[in-house]
Assembly symmetry: C2
């Protein structure tokens, strides 16, 4: 059912490119979906990809451009003249076109815009460029179907046919007043079942969710998911209808957000992927490694200053890795649950109920782990009192890590920092160090070294 | 624009429940969206929530049921008779109804099904219960609009009006043959612009993506995203149209998948959230803590057997936390990039190119970190040779961790295990232990203890 790239296909294409057999290339590729062609181009080398790109017509290549990996798109765009880029953009929906323009250099941007043929389209694109990427304005389309409340169903259907020409999915028909202020909506289904002369003002639905153009994209995603919407109109400060966001745009927002959280949790600062360059990958990863290093330097001080203690009680030092790993793990677990709670709205701020629950979980886990450790230590090394000191420290460290793990993401969130950072290396190494400090401190109190 | 729960509203509702003022409760709540009412019920205590639930009519409560948090839904369902539950389910779409039935006990399931009034609806629901949760069959709806190829546009519009009654979003009209085998689709827009007598066979689009009923849900999500689809028809082994999946179902699949990856990365085995009980939270978290503990016990052996070495070269031991943290961090980073590459399809299997790149990143990061460490050690503690041993070990450990971090998720993926486990505590603690073993082994070779 679904297209699959084969080695044979790639080889055949390479042969055809070599022999400049444009006709056969067209036959092979024109029936494929643009997303599949993009996948093929990603597999070919750059010159081959560019060759194919120039063979296909702009209706197809415009869509392909959107699906390519960033690197290849950038390279191909660099080979096209402003006029050629403008031809591609004329085929695209406004927000897709705006996204591509936004990637261009400032000077090329202007040239491309001045080459756009469709003036209305160009105006819409320029309009969209004004909005910040992560706002409703940054993800909305200009394409939508709108009708005036003083029309009747017949005028409406006629006008709609014209407007819908350029729109792949109609979803809702928005009803506005003479000032373009959003009043409500009509569904296609309603139009099909209402008599032609009925005035729109009598049939439209007045209740309608909308978002302001400056709303955050993740907020829009939350609202659309909560109310199960497939499209939401976007209004400006004066309540005028300026655009529309559809659920497929939101799918991207949700995925990006999830990817970013996952990357933060893994200690990767920038949005990188397997295809990026060594330099980009290093730049995204080295900072967290260095931060971890600096924090763990503190741990080396703590160990150094407790040297005499673990020379006397040698088992004290050998359980340090176990202690830090456990502290790190429980801290990250605690943070992850808070981060997801904040994301899905089930946690909003510090809650005494939730905190008590977390402490109870940590207490139970800590007790089980410590008793096992005490048993193991006594069995292996005798020295019950040392084992007891280690085990009690363990419980305290676990409680501390759970507390830090719960509070840090709440604190970050309150200060408008992405709380997912708390599940990354920064907090787990911090937990490490505090854990080691607490460990020796408690051991010292019990063993009196 | 959007509804916000206020303390005043909650207090007012509690007052009205106390004085059994059902009329006023209805006035306050009937205008709210079911997702908002669900949010309110989650804030109230169980008896109050049940009271409100019984005051509202079943058209509304059925939708509310879907939006409630799992715990509250389970409790409320336990208070309802099979007949009452069946009344709720009669209001719901087939897959939502099937999801709720699936949560009931085996005996209650049968009773509820036998109480369903609409026989067709009941048949569809029972049909859906056969499919596994994480397949196309498990997430599809039975609700769809289908027409036969031998109809004309007029019959089609008439039939559609009847079928569309029960469907909130039409998207596509599917065209089938007499055996119900899927042939293609019609868009609403096409219907609006074609003359009434045209036979369907002349206007429908034959090219159409579809998925088999046993396809994995994440695979369906991938296809729908790749081809930017808002709905996809589901066919059985014989090519017969059996259901439809819409993009809002896919949003849930994507979110669940992302949440699960994030939780695995944080060392949480089951799908838990902030609202779950202490027992559930502990059950999801303790296993990974214990696994981490067992692995770190190995580290304690390694340290124990190298006791004499770090009694001689004391700085050897104090950098162990730094070494393990760095190994853990770089391993998790490496795994996270592979996991995301596998998820978005940019990595499919072991790739020499990608692996070389990862090793280069690790080599650069490792060299920078080791040189800094060597400088620091020499400055703080003198003993250049010991510092050199520590630094060289560090580079090797980092390379090893990057290798393990890259290979483990690829291996897991090949063996059909979720590769996100690799970014969790299991691999980072394993990296810890291997790191410590390598560290002392290399130090021994250089320092000769």
């Amino acid at each position: 059912m679904e297209f699959k790239i084969s080695k044979e296909l790639i080889q055949e294409l390479e042969q055809l490119i070599l022999s400049k057999n444009d006709l056969q290339l067209g036959v092979l590729l024109n029936d494929l979906h643009h997303a599949d062609i993009a996948e093929i181009l990603d597999e070919l080398d750059f010159d081959e990809a560019t060759y194919i790109f120039k063979v296909l017509d702009s209706e197809k290549t415009a869509e392909i451009l959107l699906e390519l990996e960033d690197d290849l798109r950038e390279k191909i765009l660099s080979r096209l003249s402003p006029k050629e880029i403008a031809e591609e953009l004329d085929e695209l929906e406004t927000n897709d076109a705006a996204d591509i323009i936004a990637e261009l250099s400032q000077s090329k941007k202007q040239e491309v815009i001045s080459e756009l043929l469709d003036v209305e389209h160009a105006k819409d694109i320029v309009d969209l460029l004004r909005y910040k990427e992560d706002t409703a304005g940054g993800i909305m389309h200009k394409e939508l179907v709108k009708v005036y409340e003083n029309w009747n169903v017949l005028t409406c259907i006629k006008e709609m046919r014209i407007q819908a020409e350029n729109i792949s999915r109609v979803h809702s028909i928005y009803v506005v007043d003479e000032e373009d202020r959003l009043l409500g909506r009509l569904s296609l289904k309603d139009l099909l079942t209402t008599s032609a002369k009925t005035p729109i003002s009598e049939v439209y639905i007045k209740k309608l969710n909308s978002v302001r153009v400056d709303a955050e994209d993740v907020e829009v995603a939350r609202i659309m998911q909560k109310y199960d919407l497939e499209a939401i109109p976007v209004i400006d400060e004066l309540g005028r209808l300026v655009g529309r966001i559809t659920i497929d745009d939101i799918v991207d927002v949700i995925k990006d957000e999830a990817d970013q959280d996952y990357q933060l949790a893994a200690g990767i600062t920038q949005d990188v992927e397997a295809g990026d360059s060594i330099l980009e990958l290093t730049k995204a990863r080295l900072p967290w490694l260095l931060i971890g290093m600096v924090i763990e330097i503190i741990a080396s001080f703590v160990l150094k200053s407790n040297e005499s203690a673990f020379q006397k009680y040698s088992t004290l030092i050998i359980f340090v890795p176990l202690l830090s790993a456990t502290a790190g793990n429980i801290g990250v677990q605690a943070s992850a649950i808070v981060v997801q709670g904040l994301a899905n709205g089930s946690l909003k701020e510090f809650s005494r109920d939730y905190f008590s629950k977390e402490i109870a979980v940590a207490m139970i886990s800590g007790t089980i782990i410590s008793l096992m450790l005490l048993g193991y230590h006594t069995f292996m090394y005798g020295q019950f009192k040392v084992g007891l000191a280690i085990s009690i420290s363990m419980v305290v460290v676990i409680l501390f890590a759970a507390t830090l793990g719960t509070l840090v993401p709440l604190f970050l969130n309150k200060n408008k920092i992405d709380p997912a950072i708390a599940t990354g290396p920064f907090v787990s190494t911090t937990n490490d160090v505090f854990g080691i400090i607490l460990y020796f401190w408690i051991a010292q109190m019990i063993l009196g070294f």
